[in-house]
Every structure is written in C-alpha cells, then in structure tokens.
C-alpha cells in the first residue's frame, strides 16, 4: 500500500488562501488506510481550514468530496460536473492521484495536501513502515523475503556494512539493520549459503533511474 502523511496545515493554507472556492478531494484507496487522505481526513482537514479562515475573517468556501480512488479515470470523472464551480482543487490522494486529477482537470490548479512517502505495511494501529522500493526487478527470492533495496539505508546487495550494531542500522537506533534481518531469516530457513554468493551490480533501468515507467498488459487492453 502507498503511504502518505498530511502536509503541515500552514503549507496548505498558503497555497489555497487566494481562492474563493476550493474542492477538497479525498481518496478511499491507500491513503485512507494510512489515515492521511480518506473520508475521515477530508472532514477533519476541511473543518480545520474553515476554522482557520473564519478566525482570519476570510471567507473561503471549502467543499468536501471523497472518491473511491483518484488513480482511475472513471472515479475522477464522478466530479466532472462539480469542478467548474471551484477555483482550485486540494487533493489529499497520493502523488499519483494528485497528478491524475490535474491531468483530467487541466484547467484547474490542483494542490497536494499530503506528502507521499513509500510503499509499506501497517505494523500496528497508527504505525506504518516501508517494505518495497518498487525497483522493478524483485530479488526477494534470494534474500529470505526481506528487501535490502528498501530496508538497507545504503541499499547494499552484499551487506551488512560495518556500521550494523545490535541489529540496528548505523543511521538510526530506531531502524532495524535490513541485512541483520536477512541473515537471521536465511539462518532460520537453512539457506545461509545464499549469503556467500556475491550479487552482481543491479540493473536499475527497471527502477526510477530508467525514467517514468509503464506497464502494458495486452490481454486487458482488448
């Protein structure tokens, strides 16, 4: 799931303060799960903004809508009739949703209300953690199901480095050493020999280093 964090409210205020009518659009996909951009967060953010502008004696109409997803045209099209009534759209979907909204309603300014962070999991209520760097060429089969690209701070492929201490990364005592986890898991699986095989330089063309990526599934196109 894609994880995001609400932007500081002052940053949002600064971009919308010049408009009379703003449509605040949430997304009930990933960002709802990480409590950053779903229906509930739309309500909370809208109230906070209304309160702020009321205190400033400024009248800005902020209307709320929450879409099933902002990364699909059919859902974005649901607000087609509403959009012309607003000066700007404030989207609290992930970066993909914000951009797709801006592509569909190219005549309107579209502002992001969240910072999109990573692909991750829900560790516990209110705690989310990164797991995948979307490198485009999965190597989990050889690393005990733990990704060194996403979970080693230096994305080492033959790690761990010399800074690993008591299972923690040199960068932060809050962060597990990805390679320590890989080691423990390979040991559990009886696959430690995998560690002794050097991993060759990775082909990063499938990662973001290759430019914007696209997947085409012809069967689905028909």
């Amino acid at each position: 799931m894609i994880m995001a964090k609400p932007k500081p409210i002052q940053e949002i205020i600064n971009v919308i303060k010049g408009f009379d009518k703003v449509l605040l659009a949430g997304c009930n996909g990933c960002v709802a799960v990480c409590e950053a951009g779903g229906l509930k967060e739309v309500e909370i953010l809208a109230s906070a903004l209304r309160m702020y502008f009321a205190n400033q004696n400024q009248t800005i109409q902020i209307d709320e809508v929450s879409l099933t997803r902002q990364c699909d045209k059919e859902y974005l099209a649901e607000i087609k009739e509403m959009v012309p009534n607003y000066g700007a759209i404030l989207s609290i979907a992930c970066g993909a949703g914000v951009q797709f909204m801006a592509e569909m309603y190219s005549e309107k300014p579209v502002f992001p209300g969240v910072n999109t962070n990573f692909i991750g999991v829900t560790l516990e209520k209110g705690v989310w953690s990164e797991r995948c760097a979307a490198c485009g060429e999965c190597i989990l089969a050889s690393t005990g199901g733990i990704c060194p690209v996403a979970r080693c701070s230096k994305r080492m492929l033959n790690g761990p480095c010399g800074g690993s201490s008591n299972g923690k990364c040199e960068v932060s005592k809050e962060t597990d050493c990805g390679w320590h986890l890989i080691y423990e898991r390979l040991k559990t699986l009886g696959q430690l020999q995998r560690f002794s095989v050097p991993n060759d330089p990775k082909d990063w063309t499938t990662s973001r280093d290759g430019g914007p990526r696209k997947i085409i599934k012809e069967v689905s196109q028909a």
Binding site: N158, G162, S164, G167, E170, C177, F195, S196, P201
Partner: protein, 310 residues
Amino acid sequence: MNTLTPSNLEKVLAAGHFAVTSECGPPRSPDMAIVDEKVKEVGPYVDAINVTDNQTAVVRVSSLASCIRIKQLGYDPILQMTTRDRNRIGLQSDLLGAGAWEINNVLCLTGDHQSFGDHPNAANVFDLDSTQLIGVVKKMRDDQKLINGFEMTKSLRMFIGAAENPFADPFEIRVMRTAKKVAAGCQFIQTQCIYNMDKFKLWMKGLVDAGIHEKCAILAGITPMKSIGMARYMKAKVPGMDVPEDIIKRLQGVPKEKVADEGIKMAIEQIEELKQVPGIRGFHIMAIEWEEKVQEIVKGAGLYPRPKMD
C-alpha cells in the same frame, strides 16, 4: 615474487614483510599544502598511504587529487573510493583517471551514510556496493574491460583492497562477508581499529580456518588513543566501534599529562601482540589528526626502516 601491479604495498607483502600503511585525510579547503605536510610526516615510515574519500560524508579535497599529489611526492598512494557519491559511470571514470596517473592501489568502500556528514540533505547514490566495486576493478585489471564489456586499450594496474569491521553485527557473518569480498577479487583488507583483541582473534581464526588469509593479506587497524575523551567518544558514538572498558580504565590509571604517551604505548603493544596472530600480514595505522605520532609507533614496534622495493 608474484605481483600483478607496480604497487609498492603489493611488493612488500609479496616479499613476506609485515606491511605498514597509514592514512591522510584531505583538507576541507582547496589547499594541497596540508596534504604535503601530512604526507611528509608519515611517508618515510609506511609502505603506502591511504587517502580517505570524503570520510564521514564530510566534503573534502578529492581522494584522487590527493593521491596524484602523493604520487608526485614519491610515495605509494591508496585511493579510497566509496560508492556513496558516484554511480558506476563516475567510479569507472575516476578509476581510469587514477590508472592514467599510475595510482596502483584502491580501497573499495561503500562509505558512511550521508546523514553523518556535513550535507545530510544530499541524495545518495549506492548504484554499487563495496563488493561490487571490487569486481569492477578486477574486471578492469584482469579482463581489460569496463563492466559493460567495453574493451580498453590498456588495463588498469590496481592492487585491490577493502575494509572490514570484525566488530559489527551480526558477528557470525563477518568471516563469510570477508570471504565474499575475497571471492570478488579483494587482495588486502584493512580492518576497523582494534581494541577488543579477543573478538578480533576470533575473527582471524575464522579467516585462517577458511583459508582466506592465503588469498588476501589482512592488515590490522591500529588507532592510538589520544585522550580519555576520545576513548569514550569512540565507545559511545562511532558506529561499529568496540572499545572495552579495560582500555578506558588503563588510560584513567595514568596522570593526565601521560595519557597520550600511554595511548602510543598501548598501540605498540597491540602491534607486538598482533604480530603473533596467525594470518596477520601488516598494520594500518590510523593516527587521526595525530600524524606526527606514526613514526614513533612504527619505530617503537620494530617496523622501521621500511623495506626498499624496486
């Protein structure tokens, strides 16, 4: 004597001597005079001089520029290269540059994370890791090719080294990790500063049992303690550093004005002890901002004069 390159360090090791290396950290301003001073201080007492590559992710005069200067001064430089700041294009380019200037030693490192340095908001690169960089250098030397297969008209003549920290966790993986670097082409290892002798010996035994010491020369890392504060700082703050309480106690046991002398004495004792450890082929003396003491340690440990190779 079987050597692959004109490296003085490689020759000293091949001749069966204990090798001695030291390091020079370049300045944070464009001033080669500082490199000159440090090199003149340590040069006559070592076989080769490492030049750090923006160590602790702090911007400094480049390792390559300083290595060229060291070569001009008549000493054998070891080019430290981290994969933090350059991708495979930049790394191979600098390796070609180093080869063109007849720099004959390289130390392949991944590098400290940028969050420790003076530009913590920088993007890192890590296109390769240290083990992969070793493979790149080996291919440029033995196959005369870049890693994309491009055939060069001349091969790179580099004696290939890497670092290893026997004190990092998980300890059980450290011998395997060294073996992996050696399998990739590493010929010498310079270790992290040693203070926990028992743990170090355990790691060395693992290497010797696996026969790794026969394919790769292990140079033991020695850093003299200058003060009790330094010992405490290293124990508490430096990632992967193992400073047993005994070390601090011993420094506390001498009058304040004698602490630095005690640190030097301890370094010399360590070298004497390590000479007896099977598999040890030399010493890497990192006297951080204390270069003038290198000669005292080398002489004190009976490692002077250094052998003259041709």
